[in-house]
């Protein structure tokens, strides 16, 4: 189906259903209830789920398949964002040219950086990409201010040319749209005490993510994808098999750069502004974390990782002392205070601490990420089942 094997098609179908029904799935708790704080079904967060999903899917094509650890991927996200804002400023608030240009510019940018960085491998490659990204960040902040808006960032202004839309009228806000349909258009559906929000921007981004996911499956299953895995496995054999690994890795680098550009463009399409901090190297680290956490080299892993991190970032950073008191109110007083004291550093503003710990725990105990963890658990259950049915015929694992 669609050129996919049965197993991949099933996975694809699951992703499609989950993303399309996300407004329902992510809002399981009725409005006003105590658990409503765990809902994630509002447009802003859902958009981030899918956009960072795209970013991680793209990064996975490079890191998951070839094993080249880029520590500067946020640069492409940033470049894509700037390109998109410029399209808004110069042409029109229609997101089509904005997103097209962000992908193209990020692609070109990654072609240049990739061409230079890929002359080295291993740790040198990581440091080179890191250096390039930090350089871009420093430039965006200082000299390139006319292009990037420097510290204040770049956003549509009244003085913009806007070739197709014409100048903004006084008091008019620039709202990104797709042929007249505004990204922020939202329809709310109330069922009993549940409120489900359907946001146009989310669905645009979701469709893009589904497309990005589909392309990534095709790449994984293609001869090209197999070559990339071969590069990760054994470069010596690769070259003695008559294959030139450089264009392969460069192609993977550019593809993943374009994915990052797309994500950058979509971020701007949802909220028309871009700043240099999007390129900072901690942002690059976060991309790596998403991919690793979900499971580098697996199809679904990066999407899971991105969702997981963005969800917990949102939920955990919202928890404050009052919330904790609510949680632990049933405990005896002394223990309640101790519990709050223990948990408090990790929530709210302490989200980054939790993130760092998570990072370490995943790398130490679960290098294969959530997907590997899931497989391990599944294997335990399967073993149990098969030991229950010992007398049954054994079928070879396929």
């Amino acid at each position: 189906m669609l050129g996919l094997e049965k197993k991949d098609f099933r996975l694809m179908l699951i992703v499609v259903v989950l993303t399309l029904l996300a407004p329902f799935i992510l809002n399981p708790f009725p409005e006003g209830s105590e658990l409503a704080q765990f809902n994630a079904g509002y447009p802003d967060l859902m958009q981030r789920f899918v956009i960072f999903g795209i970013l991680a899917i793209g990064f996975n094509i490079l890191f998951g398949l070839t094993g080249y650890l880029s520590f500067g991927h946020a640069a492409f996200l940033g470049v894509g964002s700037y390109a998109a804002v410029w399209m808004f400023k110069l042409l029109s608030m229609n997101i089509v040219p904005a997103i097209l240009l962000s992908v193209v510019i990020a692609g070109l940018f990654s072609l240049v950086i990739g061409f230079v960085s890929l002359r080295r491998s291993g740790i040198y490659f990581s440091i080179l990409t890191l250096a390039f990204a930090q350089m871009s960040y420093a430039l965006a902040y200082s000299v390139l201010t006319p292009l990037t808006g420097g510290e204040t960032g770049l956003q549509p202004k009244a003085s913009d040319v806007r070739l197709f839309d014409g100048a903004l009228e006084a008091g008019e806000n620039a709202t990104p749209s797709l042929f007249g349909l505004a990204m922020r258009d939202t329809y709310e559906m109330s069922v009993g005490s549940w409120v489900f929000t359907f946001n146009f921007g989310y669905y645009v981004a979701a469709v893009m993510m589904i497309l990005a996911f589909y392309i990534s499956i095709r790449i994984f299953r293609s001869p090209f994808g197999m070559m990339l895995r071969a590069i990760k496995s054994n470069q010596t054999r690769m070259s003695y098999t008559g294959l030139n690994s450089k264009p392969y890795t460069l192609a993977a680098f550019v593809i993943s750069g374009m994915y990052a550009g797309l994500a950058g463009g979509l971020l701007v399409a949802m909220d028309p502004q871009a700043g240099a901090e999007r390129m900072f190297w901690t942002a690059s680290g976060e991309i790596v974390l998403m991919t690793i956490l979900g499971g580098a080299g697996t199809l679904i892993g990066p999407v899971l990782g991105a969702g997981f991190i963005k969800y917990f970032e949102n939920i955990v950073s919202k928890i404050n002392k009052a919330t904790l008191e609510q949680w632990f109110y049933w405990m005896p007083d002394g223990i309640e205070d101790v519990m709050i004291a223990i948990v408090y550093p990790f929530v709210g503003k302490g989200w980054h601490l939790t993130l760092g710990l998570l990072f370490m725990l995943v790398v130490i105990f679960l290098p294969g990420g959530l997907v590997q963890g899931g497989q391990k658990i599944a294997a335990i259950f399967r073993r149990k089942k098969s030991s229950d049915a010992k007398d049954g015929a054994t079928t070879p694992a396929e």
Binding site: M135, S142, L353, P367
Partner: protein, 343 residues
């Protein structure tokens, strides 16, 4: 001419910090084969040792001062540092004034301890894992360390001044026969430079002239052979990790008067120190030191007004630019050895 000397001097203190951090990084690369992204955090923690010490020294208790009254006529309560009680007011004041140099005494054991704990508790388990895993786990550790510091000390920089005696500036110009005020250089930066030269010298002497250092150098060159000789190289490498941590920590302690410590200073310096290590040549200790000073000075030259007029923003990117050019033309760096981290 005076401008050139001034820029060289300006570059030296930053270069010293780069050199010290890069030296520790290289020691860890060379001995343990581990890429330590948490090394900047060690530098940052050194700074916070100084912050803590100066805070502890001023730790006070309230005393009712009978001789003074507030505007309502009640006896005034004043804060009296504990060390006044212990050492008397004069000595106490000197100690508070000299908080940063005093911190060195505390920083050495603390940083060595942290280094040991890090190596035994975490890094040890990553020797056989891929470099990517090493980078990632130490990156995670760096985030954790900086967030812990942020939790206890807050997000704002904490000014920690140098001793009164060093707050002035030295007029180099006069000393070299230029006009007065042509080359003004703060004393503390000079102190920092000499301090780093001493530390670097000490590390090199330690490696050069002790049997311990000889074994470590042999281990850096060929770990397996040294292991075959029946020498327990692992224990020595742990100690080297502690020393590397202490060097980074000392660099941080002494840097506090130049840059008020904040929780993310480690990360800022780390990226640059990596670049320094790569430029110097992965695994080469003299290379790391040389490249550290070189890039520090280069950065300061790039900040000269007429240079910025010609190439705006060059001061922001010069180090990266140099690193990229070096990596592409001399892949092993200025003084790199063959076969280090090249798989």
């Amino acid at each position: 001419m005076d401008q050139i000397i001034l820029q060289i001097l300006n570059g030296l203190d930053k270069g010293s910090a780069y050199a010290l951090i890069a030296l520790g990084l290289t020691l860890i690369f060379g001995t343990l084969g581990v890429v330590n992204f948490a090394h900047g955090a060690l530098f940052m923690m050194g700074s916070f040792v100084a912050v803590t010490v100066s805070k502890l020294l001023t730790l006070s208790h309230k005393v009712v001062d009978e001789t003074r009254t507030d505007f309502l006529g009640n006896p005034l309560q004043v804060d009296v540092p504990y060390i006044y009680d212990w050492f008397g007011e004069a000595a106490g004041n000197v100690m508070i004034d000299w908080a940063v140099p005093i911190s060195i005494l505390f920083a050495i054991p603390i940083m060595i301890g942290i280094g040991f704990a890090m190596e035994r508790g975490l890094i040890k388990h990553f020797y056989k894992r891929p470099h990517a895993d090493q980078i990632l786990v130490t990156f995670g550790l760096a985030i954790v360390l900086q967030e812990v510091i942020k939790y206890f000390y807050g997000a704002n920089p904490i000014p920690t001044p140098a001793p009164e005696a060093f707050t002035g500036s030295f007029d180099f110009g006069v000393a070299f026969g230029f006009d007065p005020n042509a080359i003004i250089y703060p004393y503390w930066r000079l102190v920092y430079f000499f301090f780093s030269v001493v530390v670097i010298g000490a590390v090199f002497a330690f490696l050069q002239f002790t049997t311990f250092g000889m074994v470590v150098r042999a281990g850096m060159a060929d770990r397996e052979t040294v292991g075959l000789l029946g020498i327990d190289i692992d224990k020595r490498f742990t100690i080297m990790f502690g020393i590397a941590a202490a060097v980074a920590g000392l660099a941080g302690v002494m840097y506090t008067p130049i840059l008020s410590p904040n929780y993310h200073m480690g990360m800022d310096f780390l990226v640059l120190s990596f670049v320094v290590v790569v430029v110097g040549g992965m695994g080469s200790l003299p290379g790391a030191v040389l490249a550290g000073f070189l890039l520090g000075v280069l950065e300061s030259f790039a900040s000269m007004p007429w240079v910025i007029d010609i190439a705006p923003g060059i001061n922001q990117i010069i180090i990266y630019l140099v690193a990229i050019i070096i990596l592409l033309t001399r892949p092993r760096g200025l003084m790199g050895r063959k076969g280090v981290m090249e798989d």
